[in-house]
Each structure stands twice: as C-alpha cells, then as structure tokens.
C-alpha cells in the first residue's frame, strides 16, 4: 500500500458563497438534521451517554477514595467534553470522531506515553508499589512467633466477605477487632459492630484465609501482629526486621545489619545487599544506561539487535526474491491453470501464522520431526537447538509464510506495467532479461519499495514466528536476562517483562522505546530514499 496522500481537494473552499447564503444554508441543514433525528436517536443518545457518565462517576469516586487525583480529574474532563460534544448542537465532525478517538487516546496514545514513563522507573517484580506498601509487606514477610507471648483467645468474624479477628485481651478481657492492614480497635461486641461470628464448620471451610490473617496490634508495625492457626487462639508475631520511621531504616534484629533507603527503591545495606520487595522510584535514564553498559545485558542485547536487523533484512530479501520470481514465472498469459496455482500459493498466507510456526516447530523437531526422520532419512540435525541452524530454520519458515504476499504484490505491480514499454524495448533489440532488468524491474521497484519498507518494519517486530518456532532459543548461557540466539528485540522485551519469575517492566519499556526509535528512523530514511527513486522516473 502506498502511503495515502491527504486529500488536497477542499470541496467546501471550492464554492465560496457570500455569508448570508452560507448562513441560510447552515440553518437549513440544522433544520433537516433536527427533523431526521427522531426520538429513537435521542433515546439512544441519552442511554449511551448515561451509561458512560455513570461509569465515569463511579470511577472518579473510586479514584478519589484512592487519592489518585490526576486520573480522576482527567476522567472528569474527558466525560464533560464527551457530553458537550453530543448535547450541544453543531460540532458534527466531533460527534463522528469522538468514539474512535476515545479508544485511541486511552489505548494507544496514553499507553505510549505510559511506556515512556515506565522506562524511566524501576517498575518490575520486587518494585511494584509504593514505599509504604513495601514496608508493610517486608514486616509481614519476616515474622516469627514471639516466644512465650501471651495467648489471646480469638473468634473469627466476617464483614463484607472479609475475615477479621475478634480478640479478647488476656489480662483485661476487653474485646477488640482487627483485620489485614486494619490494626485492632476496641468494640463492645462483634454483633453490635456489624460482624458475623463464624462457627466451627465455617472456620474449617475457610482455613487458608484465616491462617493468612495477620492483624497488627496497633499503628506501629514494629509492635507485631496477631496470627492464629486454629481459629481459637492467637499468638504474637514480630518481624525480625525493625522499621525506624525517623531514621528511615530497616534493622535486622537478629544480625544487626542496618538497611537504608538510598534512593534506589529498596532498603540497602552498606555492602549493597537489598531486601525486597522494594518500591517504585524514578530512576532516570538508568534502564537505558543498563542496556548498553551492564555486561550481562549489553552482550545479549547487541547480539539480539544485530540478529533483528539480519532477520528483518533477510526476511524481506528472501520473500521478495522468491515472490518476484514466481510472479514473473506465472505472469505468462499463455500458461494454463494459473488460477489454481495461485490459490495454492497464497494458502500459507491465509493460514494463521502462529499455527504455521507451531506446526513447523514440530516438523523441525530433532528426534521425531518429519524433516529429520523422513526427508533426511533419520538424521539427527538439531534444527532448533543449534544457534545457526535455528536461525536458518526461522528464515525458511518465514520464507514459507511471507513469499505469497510478495508474490501477490509483484504480480499486481507487473501487470500494471504497460505492455508497450516492453514492446518498445524489444523493438530496440533488448533481450528478455535486459527488458526485465532495465525496464520492468525499476518500474516495479517504484511501486513496491514502500511495501518493502513496511514489510521490513513488520518483520522487525515479527514476534509470533520467533516465539512460536524457537521461543528465542537456544538460550545464551552468560546472559542475566532470559534471551537466546534467535530472539529478536520484540520477543526479548516480552521475555524480560512477562516470562519467568524476575519481571523488569522498566527495562522492557526502555527496550520498547529503543525499538520504536530504530524502526521510525529506518522507515523515515528509507521512505525519503524511495522518494528519490520516484523522482528518477
């Protein structure tokens, strides 16, 4: 597809009329609109806007409770604008554009900006919430039972589907209630405060939740938590870490090591060891710096980068050469049953790509696959396990998947080249090859070049084939991130962000941005080049 050019015909400006006629015309149009928009349209409009408004108000209320002011204001502004567009007469283009734009803003423009933001944070497993949450979960994680603590008789109560401990003070006999992240507060009786006390069978049915209840004694988390194992007695648990809010340090009470907040998003000891979970902080360009300086990331990153370019270039080159060759071969009008060949030739293109890759992965299997066992008579070639062969396998499969597109494109381009040009060449004494090389091919390239560039951009991010065929493997042994010899950038991003226990959203987003910049620059430069190509003709 060529890049669509903007419509330069401006119909409205073509017939400029005097203001009075124009005004009358507009009023007439407004009358016509009002006449045709029946009550059904209005009903639909009101119901749809009502649903959107209700959802927005609910979302704003929830966000206000969570103190997410920026997003709440953004939603409020957005919904007011939407209402204005549909309730104020006129603004016709906005009425038609708004539905698509809403989705575009949230799921395309916003997520792109959000990607940029994440790239500058340490967001990932171990760093996914704020500091307060991190402190709470550190203290909860490292609890041990305090020896010879008092025994607190408890009952289990529920309210709104959550579980709570109703605790009797062993000395005074006063009742109090508390839950996860809700320190004990005194009550006169659980029923009066709106709690339902569980009976024995209900306790048995919810053992897991009850065992996980950790109820802070009071607001100072260092004082410890109450936990119960049997639903009738609770004991005091205290963290082996001690949190000092004034000095902003965590101290391990057993080893005496002091961990400080040194601005990296986790409490860090003097020798550099961190205790996780940490929290999310702005790290500036550190993810980008890490990508190019940290040895265990840089090595694989450069290997992946080089392979991505090689893969994208060879993918385009091989599919184009084969597609063009076949287009020329089948472009002979005298050849019979071309139609049937053509349908078979585009089958690989019609077949869902992720399925094709999985099927080829089976056929390439070293021990049982069809290629080794049948075609190569029982050979044991490690097609997907050897770094070089795996790359070859990916290119073969991609050729299979991709040449039909090039075949179709080239056939179209060839047939749009007028025959008389070719005739003229022949009359001047050029051979078939010369006509092709010097006349047809340059003409064809003009119309196909933009497609080759977008095909390059597509293959640059051709996730499915890599992930489904080799899963990026064989894996690099010396890399600190989970990447392998056939990984391209996009599959590396996916693995860094979502595969395995250690997820690093910040680093993955940084890679995303690097990919975007590369693709954008390459596309821009090569589109300029093809402009030059067009001017040559």
């Amino acid at each position: 597809m060529t890049i669509p050019t903007l419509d330069t015909h401006d119909r409205a400006s073509d017939r400029r009329t005097d203001p009075a006629t124009e005004k009358r015309r507009r009023r007439a149009a407004a009358f016509a609109d009002a006449a045709s928009a029946g009550w059904k349209v209005w009903l639909f409009k009101i119901v749809a806007l009502g649903i959107v408004d209700a959802m927005a108000i609910y979302a704003i209320l929830v966000l206000v409770v969570q103190e997410q002011w920026v997003i709440a204001v953004a939603i409020a502004v957005g919904v007011v604008v939407l209402n204005a567009i549909y309730l104020i007469p006129g603004l016709l283009p906005a009425k038609y554009l708004a539905p698509g734009l809403v989705f575009l803003f949230i799921f395309q423009i916003f997520v792109v900006l959000y990607t940029v933001y994440i790239a500058f944070t340490n967001y990932g497993s171990g760093h996914n919430s704020d500091k307060e949450d991190a402190i709470t979960s550190l203290l909860q994680q490292s609890q041990t039972r305090v020896e010879d603590s008092a025994t607190y008789p408890v009952q289990i109560a529920t309210r709104d589907g959550e579980f709570f401990l109703v605790v009797e003070d062993p000395e005074t006999g006063d009742l109090s209630v508390g839950g996860n992240e809700m320190p004990l507060e005194s009550i006169s009786s659980p029923e009066a405060a709106g709690y339902d006390v569980l009976d024995f069978s209900q306790i048995l049915a919810n053992q897991a939740e009850i065992g996980a209840l950790t109820v802070p004694l009071d607001d100072d988390l260092n004082d410890g938590y109450l936990r119960t194992t049997d639903g009738s007695n609770a004991y005091l648990f205290q963290s082996s870490l001690e949190w000092d809010p004034v000095a902003d340090t965590m101290t391990n009470t057993e080893t005496g090591v002091v961990y400080r907040d040194i601005g990296t998003g986790a409490f860090t000891a003097d020798d550099g060891t961190e205790i996780l979970p940490g929290w999310q902080v702005w790290v500036g360009g550190e993810n980008f710096v890490r990508a190019v300086t940290e040895e265990s990331i840089r090595g694989p990153f450069i290997a992946v980068l080089v392979w991505t370019f090689v893969f994208a270039f060879l993918s385009v080159a091989t599919t184009f050469v084969l597609g063009l060759f076949l287009a020329v071969v089948f472009n002979d009008p005298k050849m019979k049953s071309r139609k049937y060949y053509r349908v078979i030739l585009i089958l690989p293109y019609a077949f869902p790509a992720f399925l094709s890759a999985l099927i080829w992965a089976g056929m390439f299997n070293q021990d049982f696959g069809f290629i080794n066992q049948v075609l190569l008579g029982g050979a044991s070639i490690p097609w997907l396990l050897d770094p070089i062969l795996a790359k070859v396998a990916i290119l073969i499969v991609n050729l299979w998947l991709g040449f039909p597109y090039m075949f179709l494109v080239c056939t179209g381009a060839l047939q749009s080249i007028p025959d008389d040009i070719q005739e003229a060449g022949r009359v001047d004494g050029a051979g078939v090859w010369q006509v092709f090389r010097h006349i047809k091919f340059p003409l064809l390239l003009v119309s196909v070049a933009p497609l080759l560039i977008s095909s390059f951009a597509f293959n640059f991010n051709n996730f499915n084939i890599v992930y489904m065929l080799t899963n990026g493997g064989p894996r690099f042994a010396d890399a600190s991130i989970n990447v392998g010899a056939t990984d391209i950038l996009i599959s590396m991003v996916y693995k860094v962000a979502f595969v395995g226990a250690n997820r690093d959203y910040g680093l993955a987003s940084a890679f995303s941005i690097i990919i975007f910049i590369l693709v954008a620059v390459i596309s821009y430069v090569s589109f300029r080049q093809t402009k030059v190509l067009e001017e040559l003709n």
Partner: protein
C-alpha cells in the same frame, strides 16, 4: 484493529485486489487472442512448460505443511513420530479428545476467539467508518492535522506498548474488574484503540469515491446526517467495510502478545494463547490433538481469506463500473 501496523495483515487489500483484478483482465485478453496454432512440445516447454515444473515444486512446498498437519490430526498415535507416516490412518479420535480435557478448554478458546474477533471487527468497522465519514464529507479545522496525526500515531504500534497495556489494565481492574485484566471486554477495548489509523485511511479513500452528490440529494429530500450515514453511505461502501472487518478479524485471531498479556484465565483465553501453551507443555505426547486443534482453528481464517479476495475484487470492479 490492534495490529494494523502489520503490513502482512492490513496492507494486502489494495495490492491483492489489483493483482487479481488485473489478472482477470489479462486472462480475458489472452482468451481473445486465443486461437494460436498448437506449438510443438519443445517450444511449448521452453516457453511455458517449465513454469509448470516450478509451479509443482512450489505447490509441494506450500501445501506440504498443511497436508502434514491434516494427516497428523487423523493419526491416532498422537506423537510426532507417528505423525510422520502420512495419511496411513483415518481416525477422528483426536478431534473428539480435543473437547474432552477440562484443563485445555479448546471449545472455550474457539468460542472466545470468534467472539473477540467478531466484536473487534464490528467495533473497528463502526469506529473507522464514523471517522472516515467525518474526514471525507466534512470540512473542519484540524482535519488535515487529524489525518496526519493518525498516520504518525500508527508508527508506534500497540504491540510495542504491551507492558504499559498490562499495567494500565491491572490498574483498571482495581476500579472496574469487568474491564480490566483478564477481561475479554477489556481486551476488545484495547484492540479498538487501534481502530482508527490505517483502517480510517483505507475507508477514507473509498468514501471519497462515493459521489458527494448522493448525500446532497438525500439532504434535499430531508434526510439528516445520521440517516444519510447509516442508511445510504454505509450501504454504498459495504465492500470496504467487509474488507476492513475481515482484516481486523484475521489480525485479532492471530494476535498472541496482547491477548496473552491481558487474559490469564485458561477459560478466557484465545486460540493463539491456548494452543501455544498446549504445545509448549506437551508437544511430543499429544501432537495429533494439537494438529486437530490447528486444523479446526485454521478453517475459519482460511475460508474468510479466500472469500475475502473475491469480495475485494468484486467490490472494486463493481465500484469502477459505477
């Protein structure tokens, strides 16, 4: 359409149509010039016969993996090794076993893929057509800027932003669980984020070919913009709506990355996500069940694709006659 930065799924329409339309014309021309004397074999072979040899080689290359998977699905042995004896048996057992394992809910995946694909296609067509109508028929400030912006925004595909999509969806899940992570409705909304862009361009070009005098005639007859759009324009541009819808459907069914990021529950996943996990877990043991799943999963996209070409060609030639 979520992945419409993808030239392989979103861009073939014009090229494909052109190729096939031109081909039809070429064939007609050839028939007219048909009564040529029969050529001797040697000359025939030199001129066209060798083309058939290449054709047959390519035929084997193209069709082989498809024949292989069909054969594997009919083989009761169930392993990669037994699948190597092509078409030695005929047994539909794998197709039944496909629907029996509750940890691998193929039926649910299939329905999910259809529902998500159809809903996304419908939404994409509707949103794209609304926008294309505005760009094609109305003149407003920011129109050219809007068209240009759409093109630029499309340069950063959603595919690259999947980390942010994941985090956004998990944040939405805290407010609206029905729209957030692990929600199919949420996934459809993410896909609709890409509904404008290339689709709007495709439709915009087609809308421009419908003469504006039709709108004006309707306006004089008293029709408002909504009636003109829904009852007149949408019918006239039906071919491009079908093309955009089908391309969007194919792109959605082929998407692995975003679907796998958003949907975590096995019952809610799509075929791409489910079948990948199925294969990565038990390739060797259940190969014929996977193959059966692949055959079933491919039927609809392949059928749609083959139907799609004819539709494009038909639509465009009809349009040019008009």
């Amino acid at each position: 359409m979520a992945l419409n930065s993808n030239p392989l799924t979103s861009q073939p329409a014009p090229a494909l149509a052109e190729a096939l339309a031109d081909d039809r014309r070429g064939a007609v021309a050839a028939e007219k010039a048909a009564p040529t004397p029969r050529r001797p074999f040697g000359r025939w072979f030199r001129e066209t016969g060798w083309r058939h040899i290449i054709g047959i080689v390519m035929l084997l290359f193209c069709a082989f993996p498809l024949a292989y998977v069909l054969s594997a699905s009919l083989n009761p042995g169930g392993t990669l090794l037994t699948a190597n004896s092509l078409f030695s048996t005929f047994d539909l057992g794998a197709y039944f076993r496909l629907f029996e394992n509750p940890s691998q809910p193929y039926g649910a995946w299939f329905v999910n893929t259809l529902v998500i694909g159809l809903a996304t296609a419908f939404g994409t067509v509707l949103l794209g057509a609304l926008a294309a109508y505005a760009f094609s028929r109305m003149r407003f400030t920011g129109r050219r800027f809007g068209l240009l912006t759409l093109l630029l925004v499309q340069m950063f595909p959603q595919l690259l932003a999947f980390v942010a999509i994941f985090l956004l969806m998990s944040a939405i899940a805290d407010i609206f669980p029905a729209l957030g992570l692990n929600s199919q409705l949420g996934l459809i909304m993410v896909y609709l984020g890409g509904a404008l862009g290339v689709n709007t361009y495709l439709m915009y070009g087609f809308f421009n070919t419908v003469p504006a005098s039709i709108d004006e005639a309707a306006k004089i007859d008293g029709a408002g913009h909504a009636r003109i759009f829904f009852t007149i324009i949408l019918r006239l541009v039906a071919p491009i709506l079908a093309v955009v819808g089908l391309l969007s459907f194919l792109a959605t069914t082929n998407d692995f990355v975003i679907a796998s990021v958003v949907l975590s529950d096995p019952d809610k996943q799509t075929l791409a996500v489910g079948l990948y996990q199925f294969v990565s877990q038990e390739t060797a043991r259940n190969w014929s069940v996977f193959a059966a799943g692949a055959v079933l999963a491919a039927i609809i996209p392949v059928a749609l694709f083959l139907a799609l070409q004819r539709f494009i060609v038909g639509g465009l030639t009809a349009g040019s006659v008009k």
